[in-house]
């Protein structure tokens, strides 16, 4: 039985299931919720299956079409991929449950096909070992993201979606030109083969610049973050959660993957540039978040700053440290959970009061204790306080920075933590006090409250699971990973 489980190609299922589910939900709009929830649950089970398989047999390899690289496309999964797939499954499940009650019938019919196809694209992205295939998955993620961001059809949502569309298309094009240069330098688009063949030549440098710029734009790295606050803050709550928790992480994952596999040995200076921009993002994003008067914009700017932490890995990982990038993987997972929970909370508060003005939260804690509790727990993880996933990730990163004597990074991370505490306590403060203007509150469905809490609790629980999760991350030892699987 165990053999059967670990022999099954969970990876392939992870791609085909959501795509098929997406098509079905488009064909049968009457059954979208059922199809959607069933698909997301099946995906979550498949991730468990894949995890079991990876733990017993090591990295997963599949040559699509039986051709194998360089002619064909390879699927590949190691600890890092599995981690990202887990993010997909956990956040996806939480947001899907939330979405059951959030959308009305018409919106649900538009939401589910887009979301399931997005999920398929994300899974395909995390399983790909081929830079052109990654481009195609990026297109899926981008276009689905635009469709989702504009779901509510409000003026602000359309404006945000347009910004996002422009940014994501430009990012894809830069990435594609980089892919073209890499292909013509090495005659392959397979990542392990590229790692073997590439040398430090001007076209590779140009490709590095283009790919970094394109992916940084998609990941909203400061100062290329201009599109994110509007796009993420003006979308529907579940969509904001998906965009902030999953979509921006996808492009970051590609950057991290290519960095670890292809670019790290060939570059100096770029890693410091990315690190510096990451530091700037932490400070700038936090300061902006602190100034916002609207909850969703505050959360969106918080995403800008939290993405900055991820970019600190580049100067640190230059020394080849496992703990640096595993810290980042941990941060990704905990931020995804906490941030999606926060956006869902914002959705609840908007549902409840009809607005998301922070100053007018008006004792929300009395009427929506679960929701405010979820926000507080998610906030603990975002601030990086123990015991939470965010704490473990930031602690690992901080340790690495201390070991390498990078005091600049240490100081910025400390300041970022304090600022995060400031903007989160500001919200909590208003949630406890009476607003000058009172208003008619509306009830919030229990499912929406509990799913937000569930995600927040998961972000905290991560803090207790450090050792098993590190074990998972160790599968395939990403540092010399893909080549080793051959």
């Amino acid at each position: 039985m165990g053999g059967l489980l670990s022999d099954a190609h969970w990876g392939v299922l992870l791609i085909l299931l959501p795509l098929f589910g997406g098509l079905c939900s488009f064909l049968w709009p009457g059954a979208v919720k059922f199809i959607g929830l069933a698909t997301v649950s099946a995906v979550a089970l498949s991730v468990v299956g894949l995890g079991d398989q990876l733990l017993t047999t090591g990295v997963y390899h599949h040559a699509v079409g039986g051709w194998g690289a360089p002619l064909g496309i390879d699927l590949y999964a190691d600890g890092l991929s599995l981690f990202m797939l887990m993010v997909n499954a956990l956040v996806g499940l939480g947001v899907s449950i939330y979405a059951l009650d959030y959308f009305d019938q018409g919106e649900a019919r538009r939401f589910w096909p887009l979301w399931l196809l997005l999920l398929g694209g994300l899974n395909a992205l995390f399983l790909s070992a081929d830079i052109f295939n990654l481009y195609v998955t990026l297109e899926i993620v981008g276009l689905a993201g635009v469709g989702l961001a504009s779901l509510s059809r409000s003026g602000a949502a359309l404006d945000g979606a347009m910004r996002y569309l422009m940014a994501t298309l430009l990012g894809s094009l830069c990435y594609l030109l980089g892919v073209a240069l890499l292909y013509h330098s090495a005659g392959t688009v397979d990542i392990p083969l590229l790692a073997e063949r590439l040398e430090s030549t001007p076209p590779v440098w140009a490709a590095l610049g283009l790919i970094c710029a394109g992916l940084a734009l998609k990941t909203a790295l400061f100062p290329l973050h201009f599109w994110l606050p509007k796009a993420h803050a003006s979308a529907s709550a579940p969509v904001s959660a998906l965009l902030s928790a999953l979509v921006v992480k996808a492009s970051f994952y590609i950057l991290l993957r290519l960095w670890l596999e292809i670019f790290s040995v060939r570059t100096e200076g770029v890693d410091d540039l990315l690190g510096a921009l990451g530091m700037a993002a932490i400070i700038w994003g936090s300061l902006q978040a602190l100034q916002q008067t609207r909850l969703k914009l505050m959360i969106a700017y918080s995403t800008v700053s939290q993405m900055g932490y991820l970019f600190l890995v580049f100067p640190l990982a230059a020394a080849g440290a496992f703990s640096a990038w595993s810290a980042v993987a941990y941060l990704i997972l905990s931020h995804a959970l906490a941030k999606s929970s926060m956006f869902l909370v914002a959705g609840n508060l908007m549902h409840f009061g009809g607005h998301d003005r922070i100053a007018d939260l008006d004792r929300a804690v009395q009427r929506l204790p679960i929701t405010v509790g979820a926000f507080a727990l998610a906030g603990v993880s975002i601030m990086g306080l123990p015991p939470s996933g965010g704490f473990i990730g930031k602690w690992l990163l901080l340790n690495e920075a201390l070991n390498q004597g990078r005091w600049d990074l240490v100081i910025v991370m400390m300041i970022g933590g304090v600022l995060a505490a400031a903007y989160i306590f500001k919200v909590l403060g208003f949630a406890f006090t009476q607003a000058p203007v009172t208003h008619e509150p509306k009830g919030v469905p229990a499912i929406m409250e509990w799913s937000a809490l569930l995600l927040a609790v998961a972000a905290i629980v991560l803090g207790f699971l450090a050792s098993p999760l590190m074990l998972i991350l160790g599968i395939g030892e990403t540092v010399q990973l893909m080549g080793a699987g051959q």
Binding site: F132, E139, A156, L158, M166, L176, L177
Partner: protein, 104 residues
């Protein structure tokens, strides 16, 4: 300097001209045209550099990539145009304004 290389250089120039237009011009329709020109430039680079093989056959792999790329580009263009029209319908302007509107 051979003929394919000239076309490849044309490709990066088109990419850059498109990028310039994307940044400098404000009207969304113009930005959409700019993205299309950038895409054409990239396709040119992909295909032109694939003509460096010694045999009689140009590299078919970039050709396949570009064919799907062209079809995807037109569908993304259609989406962008529709989004632009909806935006104009709601906001009355085909330009993205940087000044935040929600300062009320």
């Amino acid at each position: 300097m051979n003929i394919p290389m000239i076309y490849a250089l044309l490709g990066i120039t088109l990419f850059s001209v498109g990028l310039y237009g994307l940044i400098v011009r404000e009207h969304l329709l113009r930005k959409i045209l700019a993205l299309n020109i950038m895409g054409s430039g990239i396709f040119l680079v992909l295909v032109a550099l694939g003509k460096r093989s010694v045999g009689d056959l140009p590299d078919p792999v970039p050709h396949a990539m570009v064919i799907t790329g062209i079809v995807v580009a037109v569908s993304a263009t259609a989406l962008a145009l529709t989004l632009m029209l909806k935006l104009v319908e709601v906001s009355g302007s085909a330009v993205l304004h940087d000044a935040p509107k929600e300062r009320s």
